[in-house]
Symmetry: C2
Subunit: 207 residues, 2 copies
């Protein structure tokens, strides 16, 4: 199973590395970071660059794509090299997926019309502007299109897809290897559980 | 608050990017990836490189260090440039921390003698060989030394430290921005909860 994760300026690093870690740990999976051109691509904080090792043209038919989000999606939505690659790759994928605002790039590629999909809680409802049906869940599967909620949700999505693609034991083995038994010190990960006065500052951090 | 995360060959990417995301999102925090020399450093899967933007010599006195783990720790433990930097930086840090097998690099720097510390479940008990007291918890604080369990535990550690360094509201705001309300599809993240026959294959994945 060959997984491609596209990088564009100002992606969110954990949107990439959450699913990457789950899938790259899995036996028989290869993950490649791709971009318009090979080379380092800088994240949304300006302090972390990951290296794309292949161009879009070099990897036209991956079995799975994982499109990350980040403040850079606002510009990337008009990046025809990226959006065109997503649309073309989707014709042949087993799974076409996104994390956080990456779902807006799937929408820009025309893939979410009439489909159930999610995104970060801050802008999931805007998916309706693209003809999608916004769903407030952590991982949403509609056929072979799978979208995850904000940033950290990519880990849960990747484990779910790994179980679907192989078997539950393989996904559990990876979960155990990553010691993914989360113990968040606070219960503030959603707007329903966080103190209401933190919603505005949280959105300011990620815009 | 200036945070430094050292990269060495065959680190585990999520050990870096979990804490990075929490801390780089936080107002007033700057995170720098460091290495022996600036440039790309390849991870344990051979398929992801992150760029170190400063050498150890260029960042001798960060306020906080986060030492990642990975199969590369076996070699890194003899890397005097890295271990010497950890020992020297610790003299001035507010927090000296590690994720997963990164605690063995703290131990090699002489920092864990007589201290409570943790690591990945697969080798936490070997910390006793370095004079540390192994603790089977997800995040262990002993004075200003804080160690996290395997791979994904760095997220929980960083949120805990962010609350200690600023206040609970700031940590909750970052948690909300990251939508960190985990929903693992399986309960297999520890050897106590995973099927017993998965322990050996899980260790094989991460060695």
């Amino acid at each position: 199973m060959h997984v491609a994760i596209p990088l564009y300026p100002r992606y969110t690093a954990l949107d990439v590395v959450g699913p990457y870690t789950v899938l790259a740990f899995a036996p028989g999976f290869t993950v490649t970071l791709v971009a318009a051109e090979p080379g380092p691509v800088v994240d949304d904080q300006g302090s972390l660059a990951m290296t794309a090792t292949a161009s879009y043209a070099e990897l036209p038919r991956p079995d799975m794509i994982v499109v990350p989000g980040g403040p850079g999606t606002a510009a990337a939505i008009s990046d025809q090299a990226l959006v065109g690659w997503i649309a073309a790759a989707h014709q042949h994928t087993r799974w076409t997926t996104s994390v956080c605002a990456g779902s807006f790039l799937l929408a820009a590629a025309g893939l979410l019309t009439g489909r159930r999909a999610t995104s970060h809680w801050g802008w999931v409802d805007r998916l309706a502007d693209f003809g999608a049906e916004p769903v407030h869940e952590r991982v949403v599967t509609d056929g072979r299109i799978v979208t995850a909620a904000g940033v950290s949700a990519g880990i849960d999505m990747a484990l779910t897809l790994l179980a679907e693609s192989t078997d539950v034991s393989t996904a559990q083995t990876v979960q155990l290897a990553m010691e993914y038994a989360p113990e968040p010190p606070f219960d503030a990960g959603t707007p329903q559980t966080a103190p209401a006065n933190l919603i505005k500052p949280a959105l300011a951090l990620i815009r």
